[in-house]
Symmetry: C2
């Protein structure tokens, strides 16, 4: 059915949203996507593959006839083509670049020369520029001529940049301003000289933040001399932010970022992304066994102490996780910086005092209902309060320390906080027990 043009037309007609189409494509196997692509003419193929994840295209295109693959790549925007080619093996990439149109492949090679996570790697290299000394009428004529060469993503750019004779960016003018202006006005008179720019090597996430912070629809990427290299547009930025947020979420859950859509990830890939952190945490958690064996006599004497182990360390992990997820997100959106460390610590420790008091009250009631005696009940109550405070300290300081060391605070995951609090929480527990329980010499 996948090769049947009539069924295909009906499906394209029925499924108008590009997102829905690409969702449905994501559920097909690679084989089916290749079969589907083989049955398409170029315009339908373009319409269909617009919005499909680059990594799917990477795998599918190497299996299509060379001319068809090169035809599709030629028709994509240069930044999409570069994304698709970046993850191919070198010889496949070279084969396709050679088969593509010369002008387009030169632009794509330029993009591929930048580091993968840099602003320049994500930019659209084709920008129409005008000169400040032109009148609006001439500028409009020049733009109209240049428009014939523009790639498809031109619909997402809203600005025209004004450059000097040396290609340095000296201003920006909106298409809107061009529409409003009298034809005889100088471009210099309607341009905004205060152009926000980004460096080509700037991290893509930082560059995306520049655009959203200034509420812009595009920012120019310029080199050290101020020369325009390309544009980062709002739709590129939406992709970057979605990708970065997904990576942060995955790190926060204690696994490495998948880098592919979830439904495309094989069990082997999922295993690889998860097992390293899981084994590291397992090794760290093994420490809890050492602590408990150290207190073997106490456990044998007062078996009731073991009843509360999961509750105490679980509550410490939960209260720490609440803090660390809120804090890591606040750092990701730029609300909290390193210099706020004391502010954060004061705020979190004050909150932890309130939380500790609330939880301790409930723990006291719980210990009494388990009929374990006053000494154990008091031990549990004091311990839960101490663990909540300790966990708050660890959870608020750790992300800021990692940031200070130049690491990504998002790796302070819920599992990491839980693991740190488990072992240290047990030491707190038995130390309190020694102090408060007579049978243990307290």
């Amino acid at each position: 059915a996948l090769g049947d043009p009539r069924a295909l037309d009906a499906w394209l007609e029925h499924t108008a949203s590009p997102q829905e189409r690409s969702d449905q494509l994501d559920e097909l196997s690679d084989d089916d996507v290749v079969a589907l692509a083989g049955a398409l003419d170029l315009p339908t193929g373009l319409e269909l593959f617009d919005g499909v994840e680059p990594d799917v295209l990477t795998r599918v295109l190497v299996r299509l006839p060379l001319a068809q693959a090169a035809g599709l790549l030629d028709a994509f925007d240069a930044d999409v083509t570069a994304d698709v080619l970046r993850d191919m093996r070198a010889e496949e990439r070279e084969r396709l670049l050679t088969a593509m149109g010369r002008a387009h492949s030169a632009v794509v090679r330029g993009l591929l020369s930048w580091p993968e996570d840099s602003a320049a790697a994500q930019m659209s290299p084709n920008a129409v520029t005008v000169r400040p000394i032109w009148v609006v009428q001439d500028a409009v004529r020049a733009i109209r001529v240049a428009a014939a060469d523009l790639q498809a993503d031109s619909h997402t750019a809203a600005y025209v940049y004004v450059t000097s004779a040396d290609a340095q960016v000296v201003g920006v003018v909106t298409f809107r301003a061009l529409v409003f202006a009298e034809p005889g006005t100088l471009v210099a008179q309607i341009m905004d000289e205060d152009v926000v720019t980004v460096d080509p090597l700037e991290d893509q996430e930082q560059a995306a933040a520049v655009l959203t912070d200034h509420r812009l629809l595009a920012v120019p990427v310029v080199d050290d001399d101020g020369v325009l290299l390309g544009l980062l547009t709002a739709d590129d930025v939406a992709d970057i932010l979605e990708e970065e947020t997904t990576e942060d979420a995955e790190k926060q859950g204690g696994s490495s970022p998948l880098d592919v859509p979830y439904l495309r990830a094989s069990p082997w890939l999922l295993w690889r992304k998860r097992i390293v952190w899981l084994l590291v945490l397992f090794l760290a958690e093994m420490y809890t066994g050492t602590v408990l064996r150290h207190f073997e006599d106490e456990l044998a004497q007062v078996v009731a102490l073991s009843f509360f182990i999961p509750l105490l360390i679980g509550t410490g992990g939960n209260s720490g996780t609440q803090i660390t997820t809120t804090l890591v997100r606040a750092m990701a959106v730029g609300e909290v910086r390193l210099r706020n460390v004391l502010l954060v610590l004061r705020k979190e420790m004050s909150t932890a005092v309130l939380v500790a008091a609330s939880v301790a009250a409930l723990a006291w009631v719980r210990a009494l209902t388990l009929n374990v005696g006053n000494e154990v009940a008091l031990t549990v109550t004091v311990t839960v309060a101490a663990i909540v405070l300790w966990s708050a300290f660890v959870a608020s300081v750790l992300p800021l320390v990692l940031k200070r060391l130049g690491l990504d605070p998002a790796v302070v995951s819920a599992p990491m906080i839980t693991t740190v609090v488990d072992g240290t929480g047990l030491i707190i527990y038995f130390t309190v027990a020694h102090l408060l329980i007579g049978a243990l010499g307290g």
Copy 2:
């Protein structure tokens, strides 16, 4: 120093980025912000407060002289003004609306009449429209006349919508196309009739996804008759997505969304947002104590069993957290839907088999190094594998079940998975122990 105009000018000069300014404002107390605002003339105040969180403005504006507050609100975009007024007490809101310019306050009252999380509440209500039968030259002239009335956010709109005589949206034309077109062309000839629109009552997050999925810079909000009500623009959408992602992150960490910037949250607010979930989880986790007391005899006979409790339930919680965070994020970005439940389950259970085998091997080595004998070592090894499988099942099904019930899957937090796995994991542990350890009748 905050009232000193010279120091203020120096600061404004020095801190050019609106984001940096608003970050620094976020660290001031409300009193200081009011003192600062009192010293500003209107243009400087506007420049300064552009980009400050609406909730800060809400608190500060009610403390400024009425004329100054109304002047600022008049100068903000209508959607920003509505955001600021929405959270005020009714009488404060009414006082300010009455003091504002009549036209602007009428528009703002319109926005305030929509539900807070709807697309319509976030839209910019001032949209320039043209008619399909106009020629480009006349359309440009009409836009130029209308531009005089446009609010400040006009720089973020890139499209002009084409409406019929009944104000129904019949097409869209980019400013870019207007620049490129010959003056005598009909608007109908250069417009795109395939306009993607959103309903006014659509959830703001869904509406934001429509814009990003179609890679647009704005979408029109239209009523049931297709009449244009306003525009949702890319910068509104960036705010909506950032807010929704933050809410999801906070839910995933087991607390209720803060709804205010982190540094503005008092310890009391943090406590309120966290304590409910924490106590619910504490009550659920109390179940572990009941389980352990039930197996009190076993724990007294084989004290070594207790050494592994934190390690076993911790590992179950960690492997479940890995799954649930990845899955919830995939659901949030639309990669995984309800109909994928079997696909997800097959993928996750296959992965869990690989993970269980890896972790069990390490657990066997660990048990031997603690010198607990072969029976306990075998029990620990079998249990960790069983817990990983069970945890994978719970973590992959629970988010989809919640979604099916119409609830937000993001509330399946790391702490919730940990808590569910803790109690059930202990039952698995002691059941396996009974089967495998001779002294317990195995």
